[in-house]
Symmetry: C2
Subunit: 426 residues, 2 copies
Amino acid sequence: MEEKNYRPMWKDLGLDLEGHDQLLAVLGKAYKDIYLSQENRPKAMQYLDFVISEAHGLRIEELMEAKKKGNKVVGTFCVYVPEELVLAVGGTCVGLCAGAEIGIDEAEKVLPRNTCALIKSFMGFKLAGLCPYIQASDLVVGETTCDGKKKAYEILNDYKETYVMEIPQMKTERDRTLWRGEVVQFKEKVEEISGKKITPENLEEGIKIANNKRRALQRLSALRKSTPSPISGLDALLVNQIAFYDDPLRFTKSIHALCDELERRVKEGIGVSRNGIARILVSGSPMAVPNWKIPFIIETSGAVVVAEESCVGERSTRDLVSETGDTLDKMIDAIVDRYFKIDCACFTPNKERTDHILDLAREFKADGVIHYSIQFCTPYTVEAYKVEKVLQEKGIPILKIESDYGMEDVGQLKTRIEAFLEMVRK
Amino acid sequence: MEEKNYRPMWKDLGLDLEGHDQLLAVLGKAYKDIYLSQENRPKAMQYLDFVISEAHGLRIEELMEAKKKGNKVVGTFCVYVPEELVLAVGGTCVGLCAGAEIGIDEAEKVLPRNTCALIKSFMGFKLAGLCPYIQASDLVVGETTCDGKKKAYEILNDYKETYVMEIPQMKTERDRTLWRGEVVQFKEKVEEISGKKITPENLEEGIKIANNKRRALQRLSALRKSTPSPISGLDALLVNQIAFYDDPLRFTKSIHALCDELERRVKEGIGVSRNGIARILVSGSPMAVPNWKIPFIIETSGAVVVAEESCVGERSTRDLVSETGDTLDKMIDAIVDRYFKIDCACFTPNKERTDHILDLAREFKADGVIHYSIQFCTPYTVEAYKVEKVLQEKGIPILKIESDYGMEDVGQLKTRIEAFLEMVRK
């Protein structure tokens, strides 16, 4: 995949070199088949192609260089971890590997078979020694968003120390108090591992960097409201995926360059798809790299994905942290409030989410919604019932899908999705 | 099952009379086959036989009589609901139907197929109109112990208003603060539905009634430490199950009478089993009436169950509420502290539980532990890994089982359990 020899670095990181070679070969082929085969891609996607080709190479080298200078790497699995606090001390947040069916035999030695693919994946990546990001992390942060992750982190902790943030389950004042305590404790943890104090000055900077990244992604999202969509759902998903591990400043600049190109396309009426094909909103469980299965099936079945109501998607970019705080306390409050708005299915009740899905469907002129749950992801699979009910009441077509990371069900999913798209078009 | 005609009452409660007849017939037969076929049962179990035969009859009639006098019925699914507060206003807590594979087709219309049997069961009982307890309840209380229940209550709420208590996920001071707030809010809810104020006087009484019930169950549990055990695991489980819906004063008295008989047995060396047969600790997910599958298989395979490390078992009776509080605030604190000790697998980390399983195995001279998880019960299935690890380190044999409420796997489970018992005896 790359010219430079990163093997000494991978070896130092404790990766299983042979398994890692195989992983890169498989990923490279999948990327070629799924991404590079797309027609009429924006030119600026070349930056993303480059980033993904260097995801285990140059990017890891950059992180190792930063570490040498004393800057810390914080590995995360969830959009609840306040990146601002890590950025404040010159650190980097990286999303950890969780999107591929890998090391599954190892994972199933410590986890029940009936565990969601994302959880089995991060455990498998660690146990099989295939994720350079977790190896490079100075701190791994878990969170209590679902039973599976909450309990799996106890086991992961046997192999890599895992700091767990408690996410409340409701949105009362009591929950906000608990959550604020968690944010403050995380701030202290970040100060401890970095040896640096978080100040109003550096936190203001951290908030700006994170907000600017979100603004670029919001701009990208807004451009997808156009008909025809100037970018495929696959490419837009990739951008949102890479947002979790690329350098935030460089990434923000590159996404604005992509948006400039897309704006020109919109003006000229150029899109990735012809007019009149179905516009689909994908909603549900997060899709981590290289989990491109659902949008790939949709977009090779004659539709275009126009938005992802998902943590790897607009849920993580929708809200900004208020920049009006002038004291550390007010800034912390702004962070607490921003993250407390996240409408993950882990909350009960979670009417905000169903309301928001309706809003998105309208704003993006979606012809239908495909609700995707990772199999055994209880919060999203159960909440899918409410989502379906609300959408049906408004006459918006919905298809509920449960799937893991395997490829065995691709044919069956394609049949169901094609039938759904046929129905939507009528 | 009963002489008296309860059909008008069941009709008034909105039960599906035909389905309910079938349910009672199946339960009656199962009880006869599993319970009444046991040899050498204590005579005092006749009270329990009577209670179970009248579970949908006389007991419901009693509750309806109490309701006429203005006393409220509170239906629960979990040992976190503080019974003391309900008893304080003259109300009754009842465990709701959740132990039988019933109404499953109805349940699977609103819940994913991959949902634990207990959750599908309570939903099925409600949707099929077969649980007189939920029909009689003035308040149904759910709680956020697991993803499945948390999200299923949102759906149950469409059919019967469900008040949900938030259970924290860790045991820090912040969590205790949140939990205290939940207990105070529940107190207010109980006052609201009953129209009665909770005072130090009536709460003291409520605490005493609940503690006395626990003391009787603790006495029963302690007697099972004897060799041979004076009571079968099946009978002891039944006692713990009935504790959730019988009248607490009458129940407490009856269990002490049972214990008197068991004490005589212990003195005379009489047991339900011969010396030398394997003593098994069952640990894991709750076993609600009529989920007698696992102890039935164990005890018909030549072993005796000596304790249940489970919510329907010693977890719900282990700790008392301190009776030293002399103000309402102190009593509330005592309640908060007592319930906060519960070591459900929903907490992270949950070392208290694995420590406690080791203690129980020693105290009850268990030859082995059978860890039972309801299939798809994520907290217990994942935690089983840690339980196994800790027990193996101490050289205590463990068998991990996952099962639902169906009977298809009985043969396979029996083979596995027999092999385990064979190994344990060596």
